[in-house]
Symmetry: C2
Subunit: 242 residues, 2 copies
DNA sequence: GCTTGTCTTGCGGGTTCCCGCAAATTTTGC
DNA sequence: GCAAAATTTGCGGGAACCCGCAAGACAAGC
């Protein structure tokens, strides 16, 4: 059995290395990669079936790496090991996990035992292991209670990228007015209608920009989500007028 | 001699602990705090003069903690130890460092030796030690070449928060038109004027939102900068109509 | 003093955004 | 299959935004 570790922090990497060896005595070889790009290469080369993946990395983040890896071999087992349970990460991960794949999501703040248990469950038993905190986020996110539908999330990302209504309409195959409807919906949910001043009509927020700001502060979107979205946008633009 | 470590990651904390003991044999006591709030309390209680501070922490980030600590005792020596050299961080730090204070900024990717050297230089010799990468960022940022003036940065933060032109005008004591002038300036520098489509006039970006997006992607602003700015905004709103 | 350059302000207009209203269309529930 | 509910679309208008133009304000340099 082989395990591939993709993690940019040297301390965390060696900690993981030890944890893997301790939790999985049947493991013969531990590979290490210091970013997503190298991780992808190693995974391809060694046909890795067991991967521990950090999310926040500089070269190429964990979600992108996992996506291409899963695209090539959907039965790869991946344990995501991250500092945070941002909704942006949770949503990003659950968007790319293939049908029936075994994966896990545990926080770096978890105890040694939790980590080791997760390693065994996922790699040996092919079970999914999601940390409680992450699980909670997932339900809040995907459930309808105060959660955002995919439609709403899409449009949020589009205005965060700085697209005009007209452009969004084209991208989503909608009319201008429908885009604006969805925006209203979004503004409602993000609670951006409160006045910032108090003197009558003036002094409102700019709804569009404020929505993005609030989404950032609620960690609905974050740097890596924006980065991915920008890449997708450019791809789409490339296809549109090759 | 006492040293206070403020760092939320346990692995990094114990690594720092060892590094401090190794680099500073004259150190008798090492205190540890796991976030900015606790760090502030310990610093006040022990009148700490030597602090190693992480920037990215959940409860209260390093910049805020450092600001209040320096406000109380401006001769405190602080070594910032961070994963990234985001322009937002660099600017945030240099905005709060008091006149003539000794401080440092080294990246977590730096070698053991660099870290230990920095510890001695700052704590024993009261010298400022700024990592090369950070230094480069600082010059690019503060120098006029492709750098942003304080004025431009202020208005960038304001639109990132989602304020309207009118509100920004009030906050900065400017006319509406002047605010818009500065916005034009900003758009120019951030290069948001390129069309996204190609068919004639349509398909532009929404300049305002796009500016925020590219600022984020260039790490001119990041989550923690936004968070701080939001706090300052609320404070200002509170003062305005007590 | 005068000039020059930068910054600010007002005016005016074209464009985009935000949204109420109502009709058309699709989806859902039974 | 049909009625209710949700979504989409068009129209129209008020507000905000973006910006060219030109006149004042202010500081710096000679």
């Amino acid at each position: 059995m082989e395990v591939l570790i993709v993690e940019d922090d040297p301390l965390h990497r060696s900690y993981l290395h030890d944890a893997v060896l301790a939790a999985l005595p049947e493991c013969e070889l531990v590979l290490e990669a210091e970013n997503g790009r190298i991780g992808e290469g190693l995974a391809r080369q060694h046909r890795s079936a067991h991967i521990v993946m950090d999310l926040q990395m500089s070269e190429r983040n964990g979600i992108e790496a996992a996506r291409t890896i899963w695209k090539e071999r959907p039965d790869t087992r991946i344990l995501f090991w991250s500092n945070y349970a941002d909704e942006a990460y949770v949503r990003g991960v659950s968007r790319i996990v293939p049908e029936g794949a075994a994966y896990g999501y545990v926080l770096k703040s978890a105890s040694d035992d939790r980590l080791k248990l997760a390693l065994r469950s996922i790699f040996m038993e092919s079970q999914c292991v999601i940390d409680r905190e992450v699980r909670g986020m997932q339900q809040k996110s995907l459930g309808n209670i105060n959660g955002f539908t995919d439609v709403e999330y899409e449009i949020l990302v589009d205005i965060a990228l700085g697209l005009t209504d007209r452009m969004i309409a084209r991208r989503q195959n909608l009319s201008l007015r429908s885009v604006q409807n969805r925006l209203q919906q979004l503004y409602e949910k993000l609670n951006v209608y409160q006045r910032v001043g108090e003197e009558g009509d003036e002094g409102r927020y700019n709804l569009r920009s404020r929505a993005v700001a609030v989404a950032f502060m609620r960690k609905l979107i974050n740097y890596s989500a924006l980065e991915r979205a920008e890449a997708e946008l450019n791809e789409w633009l490339g296809i549109r007028h090759n």
